[in-house]
Symmetry: C2
Subunit: 337 residues, 2 copies
């Protein structure tokens, strides 16, 4: 039986939510990951030191006994250099949302004016704080990422020393762009590597596969798989695992987000194996992130066996019930207990 | 207060379903329409004379007192000329589904081979029976209609005397094609004239706006609105109103179909008025269909007043509850009681 070992996997884009949901999902990430970059789009967003430290404390409490580093991010606003200097050691990045583009992003950036953004972004450059971006316009849903690419490009040019992370990229055009500027990097999710829009609405409608940015075409998925499985040094795994209550997905006006935290690594092992690229998986799930963000791997090793694994129909704790991607389906790889 | 009068509106593409659902939805169509072309995709599909006449009887029973003509269609298969001659006076068209493309279409056509289809289609040409087609490939969901256009084209060329109706067209490319061959015609729905994919999943996910073929881009909607509001003689209104139980829409694996029958005319009045094309609405909802299919209008007139109309949250009867498009929203036009 084939075995795969991953050392210190990191999830460089994770939504842990808060309160009861946090208690359900945090242990499901900390069980298999060594750490994760935690998204700040709570309600209200995490935009002050005290709130950030308190959120980190709640996460630590929810994790359990596992050796897991919650790497905190601030919700982007125009911050003073003094503020950023003071908070620098507590954060791994600042996350920028265009206003209204996804869950709890109403306080995001309305207009991308490099002059207006300069004081904050120059301070971040000097302090070596990466800028993480949800890159979508407010345009037609299938074109939003492509329409946003010129913003990435203008920021990359205007702030050449700023590390800019293109989060959860979904298109061939974004794959092309990330390779064009030295200071652009990207995360890719497990679901954008495995789904297309056909899975969401090509047959029946699947609310548990509905997310922002929406999954795209076969051409786009192919470009994502190609760069991720190549082990390209600018490309990191970020699950964008985004839990919502089952009842908030299976209804009219369903929420956007796919929950993958407990199954993403098994999916990635299967995908890289199917593409005969297992040798590059360690780079995608850990090494590249360590190099880009300067992370220290911990001693966690996760062992996978080529053995059927049935994805649970749901994960639950107390009042919280969340349905994962591929609920009830069989993966070919299991995590060794 | 502005008033609009429509004479004998016809819905040239309607799903009435069967049993309890039929009893709920049939009166909602017969109240405002003079007749409708009834789709045959029951389970099992309507593909024999006895089944067709019995279905027509059930529809007539469900209609109530209204003067309403259910115009029956057969589910396309290879039929003999004798069979078609015998059933000719009972049907208005034969409806062709590619296999597996929408609700109850599993027995549809697998391969579009003009030689194999020739005996049936030649017989239909000779007997002057129109061919109605759900034109989608099995490809990527956003490309399915465009990928099917060469099939329409090859059928139009191979059977020049066959009237071919491109049902519920959704793309600019289909709008272009229908004008290219004398024997091509098309229906357009109210929802493809008013929605884009942004409405379905650009913000929250809206299962009640999920249909096949899926609604497309702004460019596509613009082309549809332009040709429909022009009163183009080859373009007819067909609602494709496709009711599903509320509980089968607000769930995982939700069914495809938008329910518009009771509100489609009000939506169209508003749309044509907003485009300053009210003078062409009579053609779109009645005159063109009468010319293409040789229908006789009845004496029904429907009067609309420019007065707010709140769309019901749902329509129900017995165990059946169906949510219409735009549930709870306000339209600017009401039907005069």
């Amino acid at each position: 039986m084939q075995t795969v070992i991953l050392n210190s996997p990191f999830d460089m884009h994770l939504h842990l939510r808060d309160d009861e949901m946090l208690k359900l999902v945090a242990p499901l990430s900390s069980k298999t990951f060594s750490g994760a970059l935690i998204m700040p789009n709570l309600m209200p967003p995490v935009d002050a030191k005290e709130a950030l430290l308190f959120y980190k404390q709640r996460i630590k409490k929810a994790i359990g006994d596992n050796d897991f580093a919650p790497m905190m991010t601030l919700f982007f606003k125009n911050y003073s250099k003094e503020f950023l200097e003071d908070i620098k050691d507590e954060i791994i990045a600042v996350k920028l949302y265009p206003a209204g583009i996804t869950t709890n992003s109403d306080g995001g950036v309305e207009v991308f004016d490099t002059v207006e953004l300069a004081p904050t972004l120059n301070a971040m450059s000097e302090l070596n704080i990466p800028l993480s971006i949800h890159g979508e316009s407010n345009g037609y849903v299938m074109d939003r990422e492509t329409e946003f690419l010129p913003v990435y490009e203008s920021l990359a040019i205007a702030f050449p020393k700023l590390k800019i992370i293109m989060e959860h990229i979904t298109t061939k055009e974004a794959v092309d762009l990330v390779q064009k500027y030295d200071n652009l990097y990207a995360t890719i999710t497990a679901h954008h590597l495995t789904l297309t829009l056909d899975d969401v609405l090509g047959n029946m409608l699947k609310p548990h596969l509905f997310c922002k940015p929406i999954v795209k075409s076969y051409k786009d998925r192919e470009a994502l798989v190609k760069i991720a499985t190549s082990g390209h040094p600018k490309i990191m795994f970020g699950s964008d695992s985004a839990p919502h209550l089952k009842e908030n997905k299976e209804k009219d006006n369903a929420a956007a987000g796919i929950f993958t935290a407990p199954i993403a690594l098994q999916i990635l092992v299967q995908l890289f194996n199917d593409n005969n690229k297992l040798e590059n998986l360690q780079k995608f799930v850990s090494d590249n992130a360590c190099n880009i963000y300067g992370l220290k791997p911990n001693k966690k090793t996760i062992t996978f066996k080529e053995k059927d694994f049935k994805i649970p129909d749901f994960y639950e704790k107390g009042t919280q019930k969340v349905v994962p991607m591929y609920a009830g389906e069989i993966l070919k790889w299991s995590i060794e207990a």
